[in-house]
Every structure is written in C-alpha cells, then in structure tokens.
C-alpha cells in the first residue's frame, strides 16, 4: 500500500511576480485606491465614446433602405443586449472565483455587477419592444430569442433577491455564485437561439464569422457605442465596488482611518 499523498505547504513557496500582482489586486485597500485613481479617466473616456457614437449613429449614419430612421435604435439596443450577456459572464466568472478561492474582491465584483447587468437587460428588452411594434407589428412575441433574454432578466433579479435575502455576506456570495453558474447555460442559448430555432427576431448581423451584414458607415458608430457601453459598465462597476468595499470593510483599520475626521 502506498501512503496517502500529502500536499506540500504553500506558505513559504516563493511566488512569481504575476502571482504577487494578482494577490495585491485582491487586497481591498489596494483596489480601492486603484479605483479612486482610474475612475475619472475611465469616466471621461466613456463620455467621449458616447458623444462620438451617438453623433455618428444618430446624425452621420445614413438611413436604412427598409426601415428608414427607425433602425437607429440599434445604437442602444444592440450594445445593451451584448452587455447584458457580457455582464452575466463576468458575474458567473467572478462568482466562481469567489466560490473556489474565497476571494473577497471577486465576490464584491459579482455583487456589484448584478444590478448593472439587470439594467442592460431591461434596456435591451424595452428598446426591442419599442422597435418591434412598428416594424414587426407586435410589442412582444414568445420566440426563443425574446424568451431567453427575459429568462436572463429573471436570473439577474433572482441573484439580486438572493443577495438581499441572506444577511451574511459570505453565505450570500456562495449561494449567489451557484445560481450565477447554473444560469450561465442560458448565454449560448440566447446567442444561438436565432440559429437553432425559427424565430421572429433576425439572425446575427455583426457577431458571426462572415463579414458583418451592415454598411461600414453604420457599423463604425455601432462599434463606438459598444465601446462606450463597455466603459460605462466599468464606471458603474467601479463606483459600486467602491461602495461594496467600504461596506464590507467598515470595521477594518484602514477604512476607519480614512473616514475619520482629521
């Protein structure tokens, strides 16, 4: 019989520079000061992208051959729908990291991301509905794309309800992470729903392997808006994570020192 294997203690092993950076990033005070420095710059860049994207999309881009001016809702609808899925992926990944490595910062990112993602999902559903009435002829239809996107909204709302139902932050983070990981299966369903099943919603225009089926003059503002939405997510995330860190670390020495009147 072979003796059971015992893992080597990791405490004294010299870490690589990347491992040290990673652990430093996970330290709440370090991340808090990093956010403080980054937030104004990211915010300014975000405003710039929004201005350029909206000007390009609403004024410079030509009208569509079929839909006329109404197609311009894609400059909000499409980036919002992309972000609704991207934020959920971040929610699930950071939830998973928080679950496995018990990293506080990852748990804070997951907790902070949920309401932002829910807002993007709601925006995508709302703008789609407003466009659907004149173009399709209906506000809503239970096709695979619309239904799976609605399920995504309910996943976000369920996650948020779970977070506020459990008082203990660590228990809430673990329960939420399991829910987030279960819901991740919905992401490929949303993306491929228009290819797997017959739907009223059209197929992908940009996110496919072929050349995008949109004129370049219309595509450039759309990509600018996509970048603007990504930056907006960062701004919203930073602001919320900052509040999360302060709340969860309110009894620690560095927070007391920082907020104490000097």
């Amino acid at each position: 019989m072979t003796p059971p294997q015992i893992d080597q203690p990791t405490g004294n092993r010299p870490r690589s520079i990347w491992a040290r950076r990673f652990h430093q990033l996970g330290s709440p005070p370090f991340f808090y000061t990093l956010i403080e420095k980054l937030l104004p710059w990211v915010g300014a860049l975000c405003a710039l992208c929004f201005a350029a994207g909206l000007y390009g999309g609403l004024i410079l881009a030509p009208t569509d051959y079929q839909q006329g001016e109404s197609y311009r809702i894609i400059y909000i609808h499409v980036p919002a729908a992309w972000m609704s899925m991207f934020v959920y992926l971040i929610l699930a990944i950071s939830g998973g990291i928080g679950l496995i490595w018990r990293m506080k910062l990852a748990q804070a990112v997951a907790r902070a991301s949920a309401p932002i993602g829910a807002a993007y999902t709601f925006l995508a559903l709302l703008t789609g509905s407003l466009w659907g009435k004149p173009m399709w002829g209906t506000w809503w239809i239970w096709d695979a794309r619309l239904t799976s996107e609605l399920v995504l909204l309910f996943l976000y709302l369920g996650y948020m309800a779970l977070q506020s139902a459990i008082d203990d932050r660590r228990t809430a983070a673990r329960a939420g992470a399991v829910l987030a990981l279960v819901g991740v299966v919905n992401l490929p369903i949303i993306h491929f729903s228009v290819e797997w099943w017959s739907t009223l919603h059209q197929g992908p225009t940009v996110t496919k392997f072929d050349k995008p089926s949109i004129a370049t003059s219309m595509l450039i503002p759309l990509l600018l808006m996509a970048i603007a939405f990504q930056l907006h997510y960062l701004v919203a995330l930073f602001a919320r994570v900052r509040a999360e860190i302060l709340d969860s670390e309110r009894r620690s020495a560095w927070v007391t020192k920082m907020v104490a009147p000097s």
């Binding site: 569509d64 051959y65 679950l99 496995i100 002829g137 209906t138 299966v185 017959s198 009223l200 949109i214």
Partner: protein, 146 residues
C-alpha cells in the same frame, strides 16, 4: 493547490457539466415546441395542427398580393420556395410588409387549404444598408438578369 480548493474546482466543474447536460436534454425534448412557426412544407406534409391555430412563416410571393377595394382584406401567397400556402387576412399590416418579405402569421387552416390569419408580423432580416446601396444592388441584379 490545496485539496479543498481542488475539491471545489471539481464541484464547480460537475455543476456546470450537469447543468449543460440537463439543458441540452430539455431543449432537445422541446425542439419542436420552441420553433416559432411552421413552414409551408410542413403544412403540405400535414405536420401542422389541423383544428387549432398555429403560426405559419415564409416569404410573400412577388406579384401574389391582392388587396380588396372596399375594406382592409388582403390575400397573398406565402412560400418557403418548395411549397406555397395562400393566406387571407383582414387588418392593418406592419410597416415592413412587402412582396418578397419574410412574414410570420398566426391563424388556422380552413377546408379549402387557405390559411386564415388573425395576425401578420413582418420578419426583419439581418441586413442594414443605405438606400443608395440597395438601389445599386438591384440595378446590378437587373443588369445581370438581362
């Protein structure tokens, strides 16, 4: 890596694998119910329900649209290039309705094989282009056909 962490990674992996398996099985079982509409070929093959309303999808055949002079009734042929079904509808059509356009209609089949629709929805395609480009494309197509 510490054994407890490794155990958690395995558990998360198993959770994901289980959920993917469950979702795949559920979606495969519901495959036919998730499709929004039946095609004219399925109707011709008798796969569409006989006495209950269902949705029918296809392209409006060019030149088949007949509008009534006195009211909003309209008749047109719907095709998936293999089979054709005639649709009768009374009501307001969506902006995107035109000949050659993809359409989804809700209604039911009557005895003579006509599909009496209670709702007509336009299916938009994924192409976005300025009107000039569309004109140029159609001109090029017309020249190629001559």
């Amino acid at each position: 890596m510490r054994p407890r962490r490794r155990q958690r990674i395995v558990l998360v992996g198993l959770l994901l694998a289980g959920v993917i398996l469950a979702a795949t099985l559920a979606l495969l079982a519901l495959r036919d119910n998730i499709n929004l509409f039946f095609s004219p070929t399925q109707v011709a093959a008798g796969e569409a329900p006989q006495n209950t309303p269902f949705r029918l999808g296809g392209m409006v055949v060019a030149g088949s649209v007949q509008r009534a002079a006195e009211d909003l009734s309209i008749r047109f042929d719907l095709t998936d290039t293999a089979h054709t079904v005639t649709v009768a509808y009374t009501g307001i059509l969506p902006d995107l309705f035109s000949e050659g356009q993809g359409i989804v209609t809700q209604g039911s089949l009557v005895k003579d094989g006509t599909f009496v629709a209670s709702q007509v929805l336009a299916k938009h395609d994924e192409n976005y282009m300025p009107p000039e480009v569309d004109e140029a494309l159609q001109k090029a197509q017309a020249m190629g056909l001559q």
